[in-house]
């Protein structure tokens, strides 16, 4: 297919306001795409590569503007293009304004290559070459290639080329449109297409399979070890709803980690993030662990958590530090160790398990890997759920997950089958470390209390609490705290740690003001935790975790 005719069809889609008509246009495009079907199925979504593919163009707006400017010449520079984009609002319309092609090619003078009409396939090839450009000078090499592409573009081609390169097609074609168009063009039920997209994450492959092999071929598409799929997602929900709906709920500890999908084919372990980025190299211990403990082939769903030397969980941000690391992985690993907590199994021993109920998948998970699997508790008793949650929180985890034990695994779907249960009201138990004497009527009472969290033996301030306290309580607190005054300076007092407040708040903010690095927004006094000694107050670690999870 000529790239010009792809651009013409894209323009028709952009002009079409009705969803159904757009599906029909995309369907027509697919029916006419011939050898370019896989590529156009991605191009209409502004994608060059399948979602599971690691390759990216890695072209930013400024690179694109520079290439457009060079092709537009004479004397147009990237700033001119950028200024037009700011005025017009998007790059496609700006690219379309210029007349390209001022630079002739050597092909026109008998030097071989070039001269042919541009096709979808040749644009794709150029973009593949662009994506493989790396290392020193790659930025200018990218500009050179893009310049070549724009230089050969007619106005309408340039409009969609610019958008494609910057991954924003703006033609009203989303994933659902493409799904429906594949179903329509090749006469395959939408459900079958949907399922095939879930297991393959590859619109091009599904479109080709639908065309070549019809419904049977699409239905037979399977997971492939080494090709990540989107993880199943959870909604927020309550235990009572879950039990009412399902009768029995599967309860598991929600680890405070980062979601990963592990693929193990017996030769290689690959670890993918929630966004299907390959993070294998950043987390070598996950690979080592899976090699040692897991049968192949397998696809596991789980979390990686950071653990301290004593096995205690560390805050989520410690995991992220490992996740994003490309260099000096070994050193990072010495500082923070991560561990896998697998909770689901999508594939084991040659069987795809997406359509198998959770309780069976969990059994397969247990059979496949002999360590690193969290417990799955089946119960119909709300008290058992509550107890499990209390245990999980006490152990420093984030909370619990509630899942329908009979539910199948739906990649990429945020459905009712997985519920994320979090504590209803977050409060912190803080040590009172100081106060300020009140004014006027309250001059002989403490007014504002300075509160802190534990960090080892230290207490690090997180804010001041003054609201929510009745006059009566204030009098009682003053009498009690006066015995613990450590220093006094003007109206300010400090205390020896003795009293613990339960404090409510709206939000935890990072703050340079307090030593803890955090400040509570709108802190309010809830109660005095007489049952807690200062040593039992909340730690900086929990504060960090709460801050990360909000």
């Amino acid at each position: 297919m000529k790239f010009a005719s792809f651009a013409e069809r894209a323009a028709a889609m952009e002009a079409e306001p009705a969803d159904l008509e757009t599906v029909a246009l995309v369907s027509d495009l697919f029916a006419a795409a011939e050898d370019d079907l896989a590529v156009v199925a991605r191009f209409v979504q502004g994608r060059v590569f399948p979602a599971w593919d690691e390759r990216t163009l890695d072209v930013g707006p400024s690179t694109c503007y520079t290439a457009i400017a060079r092709a537009a010449g004479p004397n147009v520079d990237a700033d001119d293009v950028e200024a037009r984009v700011a005025e017009v609002g998007e790059v496609g319309a700006v690219a379309e304004e210029y007349e390209f092609g001022g630079q002739t090619g050597l092909g026109a003078f008998g030097a071989g290559g070039g001269g042919d009409d541009r096709t979808v396939a040749s644009v794709y090839e150029d973009l593949v070459a662009l994506a493989s450009t790396e290392g020193a000078g790659s930025e200018s090499a990218k500009v050179d290639r893009l310049f070549g592409l724009f230089n050969e573009s007619e106005r309408r081609e340039a409009r969609y080329l610019a958008r494609l390169v910057l991954a924003e097609m703006r033609i009203g074609v989303g994933e659902g449109t493409v799904r429906d168009a594949i179903a329509d063009a090749f006469d395959v039920p939408v459900d079958a297409v949907e399922r095939a997209l879930q297991v393959s994450n590859d619109y091009g492959l599904v479109a080709e399979t639908a065309r070549e092999e019809g419904e049977g071929g699409v239905a037979a598409m399977d997971l492939e070890v080494g090709r990540p799929v989107q993880p199943m997602l959870a909604q927020a929900g309550t235990a009572s709803d879950a039990l009412a709906e399902w009768g029995t709920a599967a309860v598991e500890t929600k680890f405070d980690g980062a979601r990963v999908q592990v693929h193990w084919d017996g030769e290689e372990v690959s670890v993918y993030s929630r966004n299907m980025e390959d993070v294998t190299d950043a987390l070598p211990e996950v690979g080592e662990f899976v090699r040692e403990h897991c049968d192949a082939p397998a696809i596991l769903d789980g979390e990686v958590v950071a653990v301290a030397d004593d096995g205690e969980p560390l805050p989520f941000q410690q995991v992220l530090r490992r996740f994003r690391r490309k260099h000096d992985v070994a050193q990072a690993r010495e500082r923070v160790t991560v561990e896998l907590r697998a909770f689901d199994c999508l594939h084991a021993g040659g069987d795809d398990l997406l359509d198998v109920p959770l309780r069976e998948r969990y059994d397969r998970l247990r059979e496949t890997i002999d360590a690193g699997v969290g417990d799955l508790l089946l119960t119909d008793d709300p008290d058992v759920v509550a107890a499990h949650e209390a245990d999980a929180l006490a152990a420093g985890h984030e909370g619990i997950m509630l899942k329908d034990p009979e539910s199948t695994y739906s990649p990429g779907k945020r459905g009712q089958n997985w519920l994320k249960r979090k504590p209803d009201v977050e409060t912190l138990d803080c040590v009172v470390v100081g106060a300020e004497w009140g004014e006027g009527r309250r001059a002989n009472l403490f007014g504002t209390f300075h509160i802190a969290v534990r960090d080892g033996d230290d207490h690090l301030p997180v804010g001041k609490v003054a609201t929510g306290i009745t006059d009566e309580e204030l009098a009682e607190l003053t009498e009690r705290l006066e015995q613990h005054v450590a220093t006094q300076s003007g109206r300010d007092v400090t205390f020896e740690p003795a009293v613990v407040f339960e404090v409510g708040y709206e939000e935890i903010q990072t703050s340079p003001t307090y030593e803890s690095g955090y400040a509570l927004r709108f802190p309010r006094f809830v109660s005095v935790r007489d049952d807690k000694a200062p040593a039992d107050a909340d730690s900086l670690t929990r504060l960090e975790r709460l801050a990360e999870s909000q």
Partner: protein
């Protein structure tokens, strides 16, 4: 089979002449020397480089082709001082190039030549004018033009027997004329073509200031730039396609 010793300076000059256009290239290891021919991704500029066996301290080859990542090889060559010698030896088994510089050994993985863009044909052009000029004068023309514009017109006025350069910017212009006295040689015929300075600037980087450079020009035709390297034991030919002159 390929085994050669070459001065670091000659190696760097060779690589620089090609790397201004492409990141990777095929190198033909012929019995009497090497040849590299490549065209940039937009098919606008090409290079044809020859370096004869005499340019090397020693040279043995029997006609193979290797694919080379130029910036990698340039980095390695950059480890040598200009007076030093670089030993190159191809390992046919592993398809790797062993490079030795004064005790430093580097093993360079080569690229499959089939994965590299096809080599262009050298266009057979009948160009009306030929100018022989010193490298530093080209540098001067390119530098001045770059101050005002991103395009440069090169021309020959047959009746006045002069070579000229025009660069028109949004506000400022540059004009440069060189007569037969300032040129080394001129075979005059009317010629004028417009070129992208982006390309010409890159090519200019590879032209030694003291080189005798031959320019061939036509009316709205590609420009040929020829100059010797390695004390005349090698040569570089650049061919650059023109821009359409809109006004």
């Amino acid at each position: 089979m390929f085994k050669a010793i070459v001065s670091a300076e000659t190696l760097k000059t060779t690589l620089d002449s090609v790397s201004v256009l492409v990141d990777e290239c095929k190198v033909h290891l012929d019995e009497d020397g090497i040849e590299i021919r490549a065209v940039d991704p937009a098919n606008v500029g090409m290079v044809d480089l020859r370096l004869s066996a005499e340019a090397f301290e020693s040279y043995e080859a029997d006609g193979g082709v290797i694919g080379v990542n130029l910036s990698r090889l340039e980095d390695i060559a950059g480890m040598a001082d200009s007076g030093q010698l670089v030993e190159l030896e191809l390992d046919e088994e592993t398809r790797k190039l062993h490079i030795q510089i004064d005790g430093l050994e580097y093993t360079l993985a080569l690229i499959d030549p089939d994965s590299i863009r096809q080599e262009p044909d050298i266009p057979d052009l009948d160009l009306s004018a030929e100018v022989v000029i010193e490298g530093k004068d080209i540098n001067r023309a390119v530098k001045a033009s770059d101050m005002v514009s991103d395009h440069i017109a090169l021309g020959v006025d047959a009746s006045d027997e002069l070579f000229y350069v025009d660069a028109e910017g949004d506000t400022d212009d540059v004009h440069l004329e060189l007569t037969t006295e300032q040129l080394i040689d001129l075979q005059a015929g009317d010629a004028r073509s417009l070129f992208s300075l982006d390309y010409l600037k890159d090519m200019n980087k590879a032209i030694p200031a003291d080189a005798e450079v031959t320019l061939e020009l036509g009316e709205e035709f590609p420009l040929k730039i020829k100059f010797p390297i390695a004390e005349g034991q090698g040569s570089v030919l650049f061919v650059l396609a023109p821009r359409i002159q809109s006004d």
